[in-house]
């Protein structure tokens, strides 16, 4: 409804969106709406989506003080400054370490647990499933204090390990539920056939099941990476040394400075965005298939 309202409110803007060539008319299948009902709202929404991206790109590339609406003359000064003076180079390395480690740990642990949930019936299974679901309601942000105390006890404050552990733990429940659903979609008979052929359970799993789990694992792994790349509070709380901090913490300190250097902030934002954009472009196709493989339906 509100999309429709918006379309009526801003008709002038619509011209600005490029309209791809109309498909040849002829048969109208059941699912075909009139073209303008697709391109008009989509175009308006895309303006809303893309202007913020353009804005940050513009600020990161145009010289300080410029008010031009196109990034020309182009400068990379902001990037150089942020990367070296504001230690985004270090933050970037830390964020990559945290992201990759979280991805690996989450996927491995969730794969093991997910397999157990999908293929066995065991005593504590119901209780375990219930715990997984309940943990969805436990906000990591509200556990900051006890978590801090645990990590202090373990001497892990100021080590990336604390953030990796915390991220993994909070990614686990959902990842495990998703993976167990993916595994349930692989017929058990395939595995049994492999046993008959002389494989043990592990080999059968590796040869038969794992390749079929690829879309699901890609979805779950990239979730874990993107979440931990983006997450802010754990890094803010558990990492005090500047040389241990991650990109979101760096961005926050750029923002909370007394006079915000907008060019530097924009450049820092672009650096923060690049890896997730790449991951996103890579997984976008898998994401939809991954979810539609029964993921949402539990």
């Amino acid at each position: 409804m509100s999309v429709k309202e918006a379309t009526q409110a801003v008709p002038a803007r619509v011209r600005a969106t490029p309209e791809p060539a109309r498909p040849a008319k002829g048969h109208r299948a059941w699912d075909e709406a009139p073209r303008w009902q697709i391109y008009l709202p989509l175009g308006i929404y895309l303006i809303f989506t893309l202007i913020p991206f353009y804005w940050i790109l513009l600020f990161s590339l145009r010289p300080a003080g410029s008010t031009s609406l196109v990034p020309w003359p182009m400068t990379f000064d902001h990037f150089e400054k942020v990367w070296t003076d504001r230690s985004f180079g270090t933050y970037f390395t830390n964020s990559v370490l945290v992201g990759v480690a979280t991805l690996l740990m989450t996927t491995l642990v969730a794969l093991a647990g997910g397999y157990a949930l999908a293929r066995f019936d065991f005593k504590v299974k119901r209780a375990f499933m219930l715990a997984l679901l309940c943990s969805q309601f436990v906000p990591g942000a509200l556990l900051l204090v006890p978590l801090f105390e645990i990590f202090a006890e373990l001497q892990m404050i100021n080590s990336l390990g604390s953030v990796i552990l915390a991220e993994t733990v909070f990614q686990l429940p959902l990842s495990m539920i998703l993976i167990s659903n993916f595994i349930k979609n692989v017929p058990y008979s395939l595995e049994e056939a492999a046993w008959v052929d002389g494989c043990n359970r592990m080999t059968a799993f590796r040869i038969v099941v794992l390749p079929l789990l690829r879309p699901g694992l890609i979805a779950v792994g990239s979730f874990a990476f993107v979440h931990s790349w983006n997450h802010f509070l754990f890094a803010l709380m558990f990492l005090n040394n500047q040389d241990k901090q991650t990109i979101p913490v760096g961005l926050n300190s750029l923002m909370s400075a007394d006079s915000v250097d907008l060019g530097a902030l924009a450049a820092g934002g672009i650096i923060a965005a690049v890896p997730v954009v790449i991951v996103f472009a890579f997984i976008q196709k898998w994401l939809i298939t991954g979810f539609s493989a029964g993921a949402v339906k539990g």
Partner: protein, 311 residues
Amino acid sequence: MAQAAAVAKPPAPPRRRRASATPRRLPYLLIAPAALLMLGFIAYPVISVFYYSLQNYNPTKPWRNGYAGFDNFVHAFTKDPVFWDTLVFSAKWVVVEVGLQLLFGLALALIVNQTFVGRGLGRALVFSPWAVSGVLTSAIWVLLYNSQTGITRYLADMGIGSYGTSWLSDTSTVFPAAVVADLWRGVPFFAILILADLQSVSKDLYEAAEVDGASRIKQFWHITLPHLKDAIILSTLLRAVWEFNNVDLLYTLTGGGPAGETTTLPLYIANTSVDAHNFGYASALTTVAFVILLFCSMVYLRLSKFGGESK
């Protein structure tokens, strides 16, 4: 279903080696790492939050530490107006965000589920803010809302808003400004989930409806929406919990201000524990937040008849 087969399996005896040599212990071994991690870093902290909620516990005022009974709770409900303010704001924030995100996400999913030229690119662009972090969203919208150089200046040129006002520091504009910023990032989540579920609607149903002369709107109400019901219920619930708990965006965008105008309960808790070091009180507030979340979720699932007839 699949695991039912698993239980009943007597698989044909393997030729060389028994495939499941330790079928009894294996599932426990497999869930052990996950279970241990969750016990140590979720269950234990939760229990300690419950414990601290009954204590006076403030590392900067150790002489007052000790058992407090229900004092913290009594204080929150009777003597702390900020608590009530943040509770009301949290409810407002969650309802507005989830409602609008669902509405726009559903509309977008229906649009990009059609067949049209440029669909792949359209989908990718529409979904792209999904992967952007709360902090980066803040950074972007801080640039957009800047009173001198932001997009707001150009909007003022067009007669929307006035020059020189910073939307984030004015109490009358900060709420819509923060809502729009979070919508920008939140809508794709719903669009992706709903699109995923749309793909599993059987096309035969639509064809049959077409034959019966049902209009597109009727088809939407009688075929599409019932099919999406469970996905919508589950995703709105997860999203509501997430919106309630997530403090990244508001912490960095408004800091809960101006004048505490945009402080959610979790943000207030974070401030109470991090800035004021009042861990006991923060734990009591956390306990209250748990109970509220759990209660609301139960009521929501019950009222929406989740998993009801549509399966």
